[in-house]
């Protein structure tokens, strides 16, 4: 096989692509970053750590770690800004700051996308075409709410909650920041946000956007660090905790705030079923299943990680899926042609490997796309497990990687029962050309977001969040706004 031509499936050849890397020059990183508190950069008092490029393992910058006192300082700054400035400002003015931020995100879109791909490992085409445009959209959407809170559904003159402590994951770093900060600020709260330990860079760049927007000091504070920083933030004098991350940590947060007056929004894990009926539009369904799981290397809480395919089309569907996965290009996240980027960390890669090995040990059949794995960095080839039992670990536990478990069903009732057979309930997919069937199945799925003939769509106007152990509260839409408001005095 020549170097230029890749064998892909039987009798089909694809031209290889020349490298097309996005330039890194649009991002100028500082060698080290402090904490962003009260509009200024201050030193942290924990042990600083490096954030690395997961595609090369090269360090990108040194990051300050906030200890309990640093977190308390940030919360106090947010409280002052809340009392003196932000909660007193007319909604129209608050909204104008958010509109400014939306525009600044658009203006600096390429820089943010490159920084995100560097720090997270996700393909540039995703950070450029999905993450960053949605970040701008999120601020633009909630900006318009800031002076319309009377219409949020809580009666006249609803009030903000106060200071929100927000903790976000590493899979969509800047987008999760936007999901948290935009509605909180629109409602009149101030925030202290902790980005994930492995992906702090875009949140720190966002601090500079706050500067350019002339956002009043203390309205947004960014504290970096690991789990201990997050725990300190949950225990601090905040009125609201908003968390996106694992169910295990979500449980701990719910326990920590038990018995207090703190409110919480928890957006946790998932093990979504993607149900493909035999009357589905198969070409679209193949693309949808690929996008539903292999988007962002499977680092998606709502990923369609359990493919439930009707038995009569199972063999054909799986064959075509394998063919399609064979064409995916794994490699340099900054390459514009890359489909599958790097796994975010060595730790996550190890977890994906362990669970995949367990799947094999428990009797499922493993297939991985034949692709070259770079020598440096953290990588995992797109992988499918067939013959997966409902009791298998890989059918029950969230893997958070590019690993798909395929199960079959014979009737809609069986598909629904299997889809709901999980303590999670974040999302689900339905593929069928029969509208009435989609409506009936969607009614009976116990999940907060259901995609019919599509998957992994997000929009600031559309509420997102889970049933059962996938957490509670909603982000996005009017629902996401009310999560930061309480009813006014009657």
């Amino acid at each position: 096989m020549s170097k230029d031509i890749q064998q892909a499936g039987e009798g089909r050849r694809f031209l290889d692509y020349a490298p097309a890397p996005e330039s890194r020059d649009v991002v100028r990183l500082r060698p080290s970053y402090g904490l962003f508190i009260d509009g200024d950069w201050v030193d942290g008092h924990g042990t600083p750590f490096s954030t690395i490029d997961p595609a090369t393992e090269a360090p990108l910058a040194e990051i300050a770690a906030a200890d309990e006192a640093d977190v308390a300082l940030a919360v106090a700054a947010a409280r002052r800004a809340y009392d003196k400035t932000w909660s007193r400002m007319p909604g129209t003015e608050r909204g104008k700051y958010l509109f400014r931020i939306a525009r600044l995100v658009q203006e600096r879109a390429r820089e943010l996308a490159v920084a995100e791909s560097l720090d997270n490992g996700k393909p540039i085409k995703e950070s450029r075409d999905v993450d960053v445009p949605l970040v701008a959209a999120w601020f633009f959407y909630y900006a318009g709410w800031a002076d319309k809170l009377d219409y949020a559904g809580l009666g006249a003159s609803p009030r903000p909650l106060g200071v929100a402590g927000q903790i976000i994951p590493w899979n969509f770093p800047l987008l999760m920041l936007a999901w948290k900060i935009a509605p909180a600020l629109a409602a009149g709260n101030t925030v202290v946000l902790k980005p994930a330990e492995t992906t702090p860079l875009t949140a720190l760049l966002f601090a500079d956007i706050c500067r350019q927007a002339a956002l009043p000091a203390g309205v947004v504070n960014i504290v970096t660090g690991a789990g201990a920083t997050g725990q300190a933030l949950v225990r601090a004098e905040v009125d609201k905790v908003a968390f996106t991350g694992s169910t295990a940590v979500g449980r701990e947060i719910a326990k920590t705030i038990a018995g207090t007056e703190k409110k919480a929004t928890l957006e946790l894990g998932g093990k979504a079923a993607n149900i493909v009926f035999d009357d589905a539009p198969i070409d679209q369904a193949i693309e949808g299943v690929v996008n539903g799981l292999f988007f962002n290397q499977g680092h998606v809480c709502c990923a369609g990680s359990r493919l439930l395919v009707e038995e009569s089309i199972h063999d054909e569907f799986v064959d075509r899926l394998k063919q399609r996965l064979t064409t995916l290009r794994l490699g340099d996240p900054l390459d514009k042609n890359t489909d599958i980027g790097a796994i975010n960390s060595a730790e996550q890669l190890e977890r994906i490997r362990q669970l995949s090995d367990l799947g094999e040990a428990e009797g499922a059949e493993r297939w991985s796309a034949p692709c070259a794995i770079p020598e440096q960095g953290f990588w995992f080839a797109p992988t499918i497990f067939t013959n997966v039992a409902t009791s298998s670990t890989i059918a029950r536990e969230e893997i958070f990687g590019p690993v798909l478990s395929v199960l079959t069903f014979r009737t809609p009732a069986e598909a629904i029962a299997k889809a709901n057979n999980t303590p999670y309930g974040l999302s689900a997919g339905i593929w069928s050309d029969k509208g009435s069937k989609i409506l009936a199945v969607a009614d009976r799925l116990r999940a907060g977001v259901i995609w019919a003939n599509t998957f992994n769509r997000f929009d600031p106007a559309s509420p997102f969040g889970g049933y059962k152990e996938s957490g509670y509260g909603r982000e996005g839409g009017r629902h996401g706004l009310t999560a930061y408001l309480k009813a006014g005095a009657r």
Partner: protein, 292 residues
């Protein structure tokens, strides 16, 4: 001629549409505020609670699957049947709470009107709180609230300082809103004044409320609440009446299965749309539009 001897009622539990005694064989004495004997109420055990959760779980699909119009009519039917037995409830409240007949009658009237208020919400709360979402793409996108599932309730307990009120109304104000969306309820009644709760169960049993949709336990909340909070098949926990218990520990225990938790409130809760929504989950569905 001798005065006729009355027939006292045996007060039992209400589980799965039936009235069993506690499987433990235990009971406890219920008295007037002045200490006169009223009845022996069933002293529910952990096993009774687990039976009640099983009954509630099996009732969820049918109740949640009923049309909103149907649920509204059933809840209204509760008001009708309660109205017909208003005198009995007033007498029980006078005996249990030591309040005047007028105050007892007023409490019953408020309880009846509470059922009417919530009955009317059944086919409206989705309209008021659901949304059509204008997403940027060729999708038809709707968000609607759905019932959370099985809701455990610690009913409002006797107020301290001997102030009056609430043994019927508190229970109704906690249970009725949870039923509106289609949840099934396991409620632990007022500990020292549980008789109205069991009489209310008789009303529910004859009001077309399907068996298992409401399950009423009498006994000691401090004993039952930890099992309710920890039970993995309970989706939500209303601690409205748990203020005197170690409720932070209950909330922490409920966190193990990420239950939705309502924290304690003093007295009798207000009529509130929020109480309906507290036991709902918002489902957002994206329907892809075809190309024309």
């Amino acid at each position: 001629m001798n005065a006729r001897l009355t027939i006292p009622k045996t007060y039992k539990l209400y589980i799965g549409g039936k009235f069993p005694r506690s499987e433990s064989g235990r009971s406890y004495e219920v008295t007037t505020p002045k200490g006169a004997f009223l009845a022996n109420a069933a002293w529910a055990s952990r096993k009774d609670l687990r039976d009640a959760v099983v009954a509630a779980r099996s009732a969820v699909a049918g109740w949640a699957g009923a049309t909103a119009y149907n649920r509204g009519q059933v809840l209204y039917r509760v008001a009708e049947v309660l109205e017909g037995r208003a005198g009995q409830f007033a007498d029980e409240i006078v005996a249990a709470e030591g309040v005047s007949a007028a105050k007892a009658a007023a409490q019953v009237a408020e309880a009846i009107d509470t059922w009417v208020w919530y009955a009317g919400w059944a086919d409206k709360f989705v309209q008021v709180t659901g949304t059509g979402n204008p997403v940027a793409g060729p999708y038809f996108n709707l968000s609607v609230p759905e019932p959370t599932g099985v809701v455990g309730v610690i009913a409002p307990q006797p107020p301290s300082q001997g102030e009056s009120g609430g043994s019927l109304l508190g229970l109704v104000r906690a249970v009725a809103p949870a039923l509106v969306a289609g949840n099934a309820v396991v409620v632990v009644a007022d500990e020292t004044r549980p008789l109205a709760a069991i009489s209310l169960a008789e009303v529910l049993a004859t009001s077309d409320v399907p068996g298992g949709v409401v399950n009423v336990l009498t006994g000691h909340p401090a004993e039952l609440a930890p099992w309710l909070a920890a039970h993995a098949d309970v989706n939500a926990l209303d601690l409205v009446g748990a203020g005197a218990l170690d409720w932070p520990a209950l909330e922490a225990s409920a966190a193990d299965t990420l239950k939705r938790v309502l924290r304690p409130e003093p007295g009798v809760p207000d009529l509130s749309l929020d109480r309906i929504l507290a036991f709902t989950e918002t489902k957002t569905v994206w329907h892809t539009k075809s190309l024309l």
